[in-house]
């Protein structure tokens, strides 16, 4: 599913991180561990097609991400990669439904309100469908971003410390939710976290502190 080869990338200046080879097969999930500043975010951005690496190859579903044109890569990301960030960043000018419609529109998918309703009900958010995102709690907002990441039935979900701003209880709930939803949608979850408690739930581990 996700294939990384001879990846070399620099971040915060000159430091170089290299990953010779990682293979994530269909249905497998990976956890990226590392202290802050160890390059977790940079690696996720490379995997998400947001940042071109210095060297190396990232293949998702047989498609070499950085061989594509920038616009094609944007489109591919919109359709096949779901992203969840540290802070639940939503477009505050829009409602919950507006945010999800936007995700469908920008990725070039059909705007399907039934699909939106289905995903929201999976995440217990149906009653907030027409709410302004500013009115939601942090936890609810984070769940909306998860809904947004799942909406287009992506092949890969990349989550960058999605629980950083949540308390412990909510943290493990969100991670379990992400994993459960990924499995339901047949997607691979790649998550960067420092939460050791969920370590055993993941098949693959990448510890950036060691390399």
């Amino acid at each position: 599913m996700v294939h990384i080869e001879n990846l070399n990338f620099g971040y915060t200046g000159q430091e170089i991180l290299s990953i010779p080879r990682i293979e994530i097969r269909e249905g497998q999930h990976m956890m990226i561990l590392g202290n802050s500043g160890s390059g977790k975010t940079t690696l996720l951005h490379i995997l998400g097609g947001l940042l071109k690496p210095k060297e190396g190859k990232v293949t998702i579903d047989g498609i070499d991400l950085y061989k594509q044109s920038a616009t094609a890569r944007d489109k591919y990301r919109g359709r096949s990669i779901g992203l969840v960030f540290q802070k639940p960043h939503l477009i505050s000018a829009l409602t919950v439904q507006g945010n999800l419609l936007l995700a469908q529109y920008l990725s070039g998918m059909a705007q399907d309100k039934d699909r939106i309703r289905a995903v929201l009900s999976e995440l217990d958010l149906v009653d907030k469908i027409n709410a302004r995102v500013k009115r939601l709690s942090q936890g609810e907002q984070q769940r909306v971003t998860i809904a947004r990441a799942l909406l287009n039935k992506p092949r890969v979900i990349l989550a960058d410390e999605p629980t950083a701003s949540l308390d412990d209880d909510n943290s493990s709930r969100v991670i379990n939710l992400l994993k459960g939803q990924a499995e339901k949608n047949g997607a691979s979850l790649i998550i960067a976290t420092h939460d050791q408690r969920v370590k055993k739930e993941f098949d693959l581990h990448l510890d950036l502190n060691e390399s």
Partner: protein, 408 residues
């Protein structure tokens, strides 16, 4: 969800800011439109009313006054000229036609003009009711006169001396309305037409004629009169362009009359008025520039907070071009709204002013008319929006998603 509705949602999220920008824009557009419509209509009126008149000959005085009094009927006449001298002048081979006018009286503020049917034909007048005048003291009234004074064929009235309402009435001779003209948006709308002899008769305080006297030249040419008879002016049409070169000089040098060209005098008047109009117009353009600047500043400031939004949109699959268009659209929507609002403001304002000032209604100024240049004004407002959002849009285009997302 479309790019348009996305931009629209951003606009809606800042209602006060949007209101300010839209109002600024609409104010500038409205002022420009008011000037445009007003000066176009005034220009139309002025040129409509001087059509077919190459030269006005009257008593010596200010040439502009001569034109204003005898062509547009808004100033006082310069004085009178001898009928015999006028008659001599028309024998010149350069004169194709000449229409005599005798002014001096009014009824209810509307001028009584002694003339012949040529004058009516000059403006392609149409009879709405009744018939044209033939006998002395028969009067044909313009549509505005009929409306304001509620006169209809068969009604009678006394003329008053002078050009304004409160003057002394001539209660010896009574005019009888025989016809009402259709509205033609010319000076005829505000005039009372009769024979020149009627005007003389009222002024000479002659013996009361009980019987009707047929005018001696009601259709064309000059009335008979005696050696003391006077008229106010002559409206002359040249036979050839040579007339324009020779006639004015000839009249001004060889007679004690004066000749003035309506084309020249109105151009002179407009160049004087033009300074004022240009100043107000520049002021309106300054307002539009400020509106553009204000939109630029608010977009530019908002963009700092929106960097993350834009990065998120990119991460959701939006191309750089899409974000560029998204920001441009936002500016363009605001200025277009301003343009459309200004369009309504401008027309409403003209109509309001026209209703408020009776004089402008008489001249025929209205807000329910459209000038082709208005399309340009609306295009300009769209252009201002695009221009104002160009730099912010370029910034949006260049957003480095990875960097913005990592900055948190």
């Amino acid at each position: 969800m479309t790019l348009f509705s996305l931009s629209w949602n951003y606009i809606k999220a800042k209602p006060l800011n949007t209101l300010l920008n839209v109002l600024l824009m609409s104010l500038g557009i409205a002022i420009i439109l008011v000037l445009l419509i007003f000066s176009t209509q005034l220009d139309d009126k002025l040129s409509n009313n001087k059509k077919g008149i190459d030269l006005v000959v009257g008593a010596k005085g200010s040439p502009l006054q001569l034109i204003l009094a005898n062509v547009y009927h808004i100033d006082f006449p310069t004085g009178n000229i001898k009928l015999s001298e006028a008659r001599t002048l028309t024998r010149n081979r350069l004169v194709k036609s000449a229409i005599p006018l005798a002014l001096g009286d009014n009824y209810g503020g509307f001028r009584i003009v002694g003339t012949n049917h040529d004058y009516f034909n000059l403006y392609q007048g149409q009879i709405q009711e009744g018939e044209l005048w033939q006998y002395n003291l028969e009067a044909v009234i313009g549509s505005n006169v009929a409306k304001r004074l509620s006169l209809k064929p068969g009604d009678e009235f006394f003329g008053a001396h002078g050009m304004s309402v409160a003057d002394l009435e001539h209660d010896e001779a009574v005019y009888k309305v025989v016809g009402v003209l259709e509205r033609g948006n010319t000076v005829l709308d505000n005039l009372i037409l009769t024979n020149i002899e009627s005007v003389w008769q009222v002024h000479e305080h002659a013996d009361e004629h009980e019987q009707k006297v047929l005018g001696s030249a009601y259709e064309t040419g000059f009335p008979e009169g005696d050696e003391n008879s006077e008229i106010t002016s002559l409206l002359i049409q040249y036979r050839s362009p040579m007339g324009a070169i020779q006639m004015p000089r000839m009249v001004n040098a060889n007679t004690n009359m004066q000749a003035a060209s309506p084309a020249f005098e109105t151009a002179r008047l407009f160049s004087l008025l033009g300074i004022g109009i240009n100043m107000i117009r520049s002021f309106a353009y300054i307002i539009i520039v400020i509106a553009g600047l204000s939109i630029f500043i608010s977009l530019f400031n908002a963009l700092k907070d929106r960097k993350y939004d834009l990065a998120i949109m990119r991460s959701l699959g939006a191309s750089k071009i899409k974000l560029f268009v998204h920001v441009i659209l936002e500016g363009a929507i605001i200025t277009s709204l301003g343009g459309i609002l200004g369009f309504f403001f401008g027309h409403a304002l003209i109509e309001l002013l026209a209703k408020y000032y009776e004089k402008s209604e008489e001249v025929g100024i209205t807000g329910f008319t459209f000038v082709t240049q208005e399309v340009w004004i609306l295009l300009i407002s769209l252009g201002v929006g695009i221009l104002a959002s160009l730099l912010p849009a370029l910034n949006a285009y260049k957003t480095d998603i990875s960097q913005v997302l990592a900055q948190e």
